[in-house]
Each structure stands twice: as structure tokens, then as C-alpha cells.
Amino acid sequence: MHLALNWYLSLSAVLFVIGVLGVLLRRNAIVIFLSIELMLNAANLALVAFSQTFGDVDGQILVFFVMSVAAAEAAVGLAIIIALFRNKETVNVSEINLFRG
């Protein structure tokens, strides 16, 4: 009745790679963070798809924990960005470079 597992895994792979491209290509620290959250969401989607296919609730428990860890990581990471911005007035990661030369 539901779609085959492969479709959800393929969508998860596409979203994950879009997140990877965001981390590699963008230079704004906030957008890099958003891409990391997108990668976590892609992994969550794969977990929920597997949990639905095999009737195992442990997949969704792991999704619950991944979301909690993502929330904690977002809070601490944004605090770091705020502290960086206070010192350097920029969130462009190619300008946050202490090793000159």
C-alpha cells in the first residue's frame, strides 16, 4: 500500500547531498548551519522510512533523540556565531581566519 522503501531512501539521499553542497559552497555561517540541519533531517527521513517498513519503533525513538541533539547543537552553534560576530563583525567564514599568511 505504501510506496516502496527505495523511493524514500532516494529522497533522503537527494536531500542529504543538497545539504552537503550547502556546507561546501556557501560561505555564510548561518546558511552552513541550516545545511547541517537539512542533512540531519534527511537522515531522520531514512530512519522513519525504515521504521515503517519493518514495524520497529526503535527507528522513531532514534529520530526523537536525533531531534533533541540537533536542537542542542543548534543552540550552542548559534551562541558561538553570536560570540564570533561580536568580535569580528562578520559571519563570512572565509574572513574568520586567524592564521594569517
Partner: protein
């Protein structure tokens, strides 16, 4: 038929939102496209019979984490749109590597290796994933992990407050 249509609708919305987040110049617009992607993924969870996780996704991801992002963007006042960056060989190499990784992942998914166990009936799977069973499993089998998540969130809260203070006490 309806399941196929719903899956492709939410999948297209999710991918368009992700690409929108990647491409637009302003960080506020990126955050808003990301919220659209998160809503589409929550709808996908509901089509997968994971109603609890779908609602938790909207509450926590779209409702708390993205609000935190928008607060920080507005606090830092990042409203200047940067100029067009030039296309050097590193960006092209990164893009090519990303496409290579995507091709590898899709090839592995389509190989259909017979290492997975048997799939169960979908009505049984829907009943196993109810909020009742999730709560039961969280409080009995995964009780230790639940407590550790509480400690982790406490540590993250204290760390975030201390990092963002003007005087690092």
C-alpha cells in the same frame, strides 16, 4: 495512487525548498525556504504513519529551532545581501563531488541487496508506531538514553547562555 501522488507532491516541495535555501542570497530567505522543507518532511512522516514524529518535527524543528535561527539572524542584523561570488575551480570541484556522492548513494539504494529482513504488513507497522508504543519504549527500554538527553539539553542551555554573554564568566 493517492500515496504515490502525495509522496511526489511532498518530495518535490521538500527538494524545491532545499534548493531554494541553497541558492538565495539573503539568510532570512534561506531560513524561510528551510521552514517550507521542514513542513514537507513532516507531511512525509505523516504519510509514513509516524504521526507522533511528524507533529514533533513541526513543534521542535519548525517551531523552536527555526525560530531560534531567525532570532539570531535578526539579532545580528544580517540584512545585507552579498555580491555574486566568482566561480573558481574549488566550487566546481565541490559540486562535482556532491553529484558523485549522490550517484553512489542512488546506485547502492537501487542494488536491492538481500541483506534486509522481511518487511511487515503496513497495518501492523502503523500500530507499532503509535504514540502509545513510542512512550512505552522511551520509558522502559530507552529510559537511560532519555535521561541522558535531559542532561545534554541542560548542558547545551548552560553552554549557550555562557557563550553568548558579553563577559565570559
Amino acid at each position: 495512487m493517492l500515496e504515490t501522488f502525495l509522496f511526489f507532491l511532498f518530495a518535490v516541495v521538500a527538494v524545491v525548498g532545499a534548493l531554494g535555501m541553497l541558492i538565495v542570497r539573503s539568510p532570512v530567505s534561506s531560513a524561510l525556504w528551510m521552514i517550507m522543507t521542514l513542513f514537507a518532511i513532516a507531511c512525509l512522516y505523516i504519510t509514513l504513519d509516524a504521526e507522533f514524529i511528524g507533529v514533533v518535527q513541526v513543534l521542535i524543528y519548525a517551531g523552536a529551532i527555526m525560530v531560534l535561527f531567525l532570532f539570531v539572524i535578526m539579532l545580528l542584523n544580517l540584512d545585507s545581501m552579498p555580491r555574486m561570488e566568482q566561480l573558481d575551480w574549488r566550487k566546481v570541484a565541490a559540486f562535482v563531488l556532491g553529484i558523485v556522492v549522490l550517484a553512489e548513494l542512488l546506485a547502492v539504494i537501487s542494488l536491492r541487496l538481500d541483506v534486509l529482513p522481511e518487511a511487515v504488513a503496513s497495518s501492523e507497522a502503523a500500530e507499532a508506531a503509535s504514540a502509545n508504543n513510542i512512550g512505552l519504549a522511551l520509558l522502559t527500554e530507552h529510559a537511560f538514553s532519555l535521561e541522558m538527553i535531559g542532561v545534554l539539553l541542560l548542558a547545551a542551555t548552560i553552554g549557550a547562555v555562557m557563550l553568548a554573554k558579553k563577559k565570559f564568566v
